[in-house]
């Protein structure tokens, strides 16, 4: 039985059928909610919904499930894992009070990490709908989520990057060339992660070995990942492949994940398998997840919810498996879900905020496709905002152009811009490596070396039939 929420504003009366509809109508506008038919019918109705939502006690979300407990294992995960003791300091609050509390001086980083396990994804989604962009930034900045494998990610004042050396035919020299380019621009502390063009076990193992050899030879304090299906990675582990991180795209409903071909038990099995390899040196966070608003709707598995609420529920899945990295691929899905730069920016800030509030080591693929109304300036803006908000990591790709996936994300140059403009640094272990390898002349002032570092100059001379660089 869903509750009907009624209110009167001036001479008009408003009615919202159930918590799901109230949340959807309160969402800042975006094309995906229009496509789903759940968007507010007018600007006024949206704000009225936000006003009604602001008055709801947070405990409502523990009593009224948006997707029935019996039907969805993620609802069960959210309810069964809810920590009543952690929730105690905030249990008396309404959603509106919760926003005030999050912004207040009471909500210190320590306090925020104490209450984390008492916050459900729906509470995070609800409060985010009342928050302006600056609120999302300010509160996220107070939430630190630190993880580790061969280096330490998410520390204050750090911004890491995933080096993404994709190639349309997985050509070894092509991939190695992009890895070299990235390393020499200081990229790759979050992970060196390849989206394979040919997605199967044998190909994945080939790419895992390629990256493992590079990491070992140059003693890079980082980790590698092939972004293939979780079941492929499990098979690779069985075959003895050098697996650092297990990847999977995840969504916020059981049906979404079933359409992706896995369930929570699969992820648990994968986490245990990767941990059994013991390949981490400073930590044992072995999972890497990607998410993104719109995935539930595109799998026809959104249960009538708005896309941002579905997205926040994906973070309940993520935090269950102590991931090293999680990022929203915010602008990849296309304009039918996030139409333009404004909608992509808002969604990126919401996803980062909700993830961090729930204790997820959140990064962002700041990106767009060529059919979205967005350009490099929009990406500059979102990158800067996320840098200010304390985002754990962004992508790094040669010249912003992913020639395999055909979309644009942040470049190696972009990450250096953000580090310089905002005074942010790479992960500490990786930063020391950059200095030791003489990739940077001065890491403190973000000044790159004017020479090709000796170790890499040697490798360049190995190239067949060229590499004579007497310039």
């Amino acid at each position: 039985m869903s509750t009907t929420y009624r209110t009167r504003v001036g001479s008009k009366s408003y009615r919202f059928q159930g918590l799901g509809e109230l949340m959807a109508k309160a969402s800042p506008a975006r094309s995906g909610d229009a496509l789903a038919g759940v968007i507010a019918e007018s600007a006024e109705q949206r704000v009225v919904a936000q006003m009604v939502l602001a008055q709801l006690p947070l405990t409502t979300f523990l009593n009224e499930a948006l997707i029935p407990y019996e039907e969805d294992e993620i609802t069960r995960l959210i309810i069964d894992d809810h920590d009543a003791a952690a929730f105690a300091p905030i249990r008396h609050l309404t959603v509106g009070d919760f926003r005030n509390w999050l912004l207040s001086d009471q909500a210190t980083p320590e306090m925020l990490s104490r209450v984390r396990a008492g916050i459900t994804p729906e509470m995070a989604a609800a409060v985010s709908k009342l928050m302006r962009n600056q609120d999302l930034i300010l509160v996220a900045k107070k939430c630190r989520v630190v993880t580790a494998f061969r280096n330490t990610l998410g520390l204050e004042g750090r911004l890491s990057t995933r080096l993404q050396p994709n190639h349309p035919t997985d050509d070894v020299t092509g991939i190695a060339a992009s890895i070299l380019d990235g390393l020499l621009y200081g990229s790759g502390d979050a992970v060196i992660g390849i989206n394979p063009a040919t997605d199967n076990v044998a190909q994945s193992i080939k790419l895992m070995r390629l990256m493992d050899e590079v990491i070992q030879k140059y003693e890079i304090p980082t980790q590698s990942c092939v972004l293939t299906h979780v079941t492929n990675t499990l098979e690779a582990i069985e075959q003895g492949a050098p697996v650092d991180l297990v990847f999977q795209s995840i969504g916020g409903t059981e049906a979404t994940n079933r359409s992706f071909g896995f369930d929570l038990a699969t992820l648990a099995e994968a986490e245990a398998a990767a941990q059994s390899l013991g390949r981490g040196t400073v930590g044992q966070n072995v999972m890497y997840f990607e998410t993104g608003q719109g995935s539930a709707l595109s799998s026809d598995a959104h249960h009538g919810l708005d896309q941002q609420t579905c997205e926040a529920r994906a973070y309940a899945v993520a935090r269950k498996f102590d991931p090293l990295l999680v990022n929203t691929v915010v602008g990849f899905i296309g304009p039918e879900y996030l139409f333009d730069g404004k909608e992509i920016t808002r969604a990126g800030l919401e996803d980062h905020f909700c993830g961090k509030l729930l204790g997820v080591p959140m990064g962002c693929d700041v990106c767009y496709t060529n059919h979205a109304q967005a350009d490099q300036n929009d990406m500059d803006n979102l990158l800067t905002l996320l840098g200010v908000a304390g985002c754990n990591f962004v992508m790094g790709i040669p010249g912003s152009d992913d020639i395999m996936l055909n979309y644009q994300t942040t470049s190696f140059h972009d990450a250096l811009y953000a580090r310089r403009a905002l005074g942010l640094k790479a992960a500490p272990e990786f930063e020391q490596w950059l200095a030791r390898m003489q990739i940077f002349a001065d890491v403190d002032t973000h000044r790159l070396s004017d020479r090709v570092p000796a170790a890499f100059a040697r490798s360049l001379r190995q190239l067949p039939g060229e590499a004579s660089h007497e310039a």
Binding site: L35, E213, T369, H371, H413, H469
Partner: protein
């Protein structure tokens, strides 16, 4: 060949731009590597080259299909008796098309009626060819006639008689609109040729989707796809060859999509190109 160890090369600098000696590696990849830097930022020429590529990709998305020119070109290139049939989806213009994929998957009323009328006068055929603008009218404009020439040549050499339904061209369409057209024409299979989402360096990429027993409401897992058909990607002859292979399998097994894929085939390592990693070569 052994070389004497040389000192680490200094990166050349001109007018404040530090160049990257490893830019020579671009011989091995289309990735934008070795761009050099002004401080830590993109040099002006590299910035403008990117902007030009993005502008072209955006123009490709928004440029309307010149349907009369395409009908004329196909009629001539394929020596057709009648020009291909022009159809429209329910998405009236580009902005709606981009936000409502569901509208792009169905014919509008007028087109549906016209096609129903046409279907009455022709025998059911085995293969319907549907050309759709998709996200790049440019791809369709440039590549559909050359591809169809190659494909129809290949069909003529096939032992099997693939009787073709009249060719249709759809404006503001998505892949699934082929299901409705194939169903209306009573075709055993439908081939959709559609402009793919433009990449930064590939604004003219044509995608081929083959679906057995087309009917409204099929999911994408029922289709097989050949992607990146364009002069700088998969050439039309190779694309036609691969499509003939697919057609044969589809016809033999009476199905298409993921069910057609053989798992053993999936475990082949991509073997095109180089296999030696120069970063760990010594």
């Amino acid at each position: 060949m052994k070389r004497d160890p040389a000192p680490a090369p200094t990166m050349p600098q001109t007018h404040g731009v530090v160049e990257n000696p490893w830019a020579a590696l671009r011989a091995f990849t289309d990735a934008r590597i070795g761009l050099g830097r002004a401080g830590v930022s993109l040099p002006t020429d590299k910035l403008l080259a990117f902007q030009l590529a993005h502008a072209r990709a955006q123009d490709a998305v928004h440029c309307p299909l010149d349907i009369d020119a395409l009908r004329e070109a196909l009629t001539q290139a394929l020596d057709l008796d009648a020009a291909p049939i022009a159809l429209k989806s329910r998405a009236e213009e580009r902005a709606i098309y981009l936000q409502r994929p569901d509208y792009g998957r169905r014919l509008n009323e007028a087109s549906r009626e016209a096609l129903e009328k046409c279907a009455e006068s022709v025998e059911p055929k085995r293969l319907a060819i549907v050309i759709v603008d998709g996200l790049s009218a440019l791809a369709v404009q440039r590549n559909s006639a050359p591809f169809l020439q190659a494909f129809i040549r290949a069909l003529a050499q096939d032992t099997d008689d693939w009787r073709l339904a009249p060719i249709t061209i759809v404006e503001q369409g998505r892949v699934a609109i082929g299901d409705e057209i194939g169903e209306l024409l009573g075709a055993a299979a439908v081939l959709v040729m559609i402009g793919e989402r433009p990449g930064l360096s590939s604004p003219d990429s044509l995608g081929l989707y083959l679906t057995w027993a087309p009917q409204v409401g099929l999911r994408d897992d029922r289709r097989n796809c050949i992607s990146n058909v364009r002069p700088a990607g998969l050439c039309v002859d190779e694309a036609a060859r691969r499509l003939m292979g697919l057609l044969e399998q589809v016809r033999e097994r009476g199905l298409s999509g993921v069910a057609l894929k053989d798992r053993s085939e999936e475990n082949e390592v991509e073997s095109i190109g180089s296999t030696r990693n120069f970063l760990v070569a010594d």
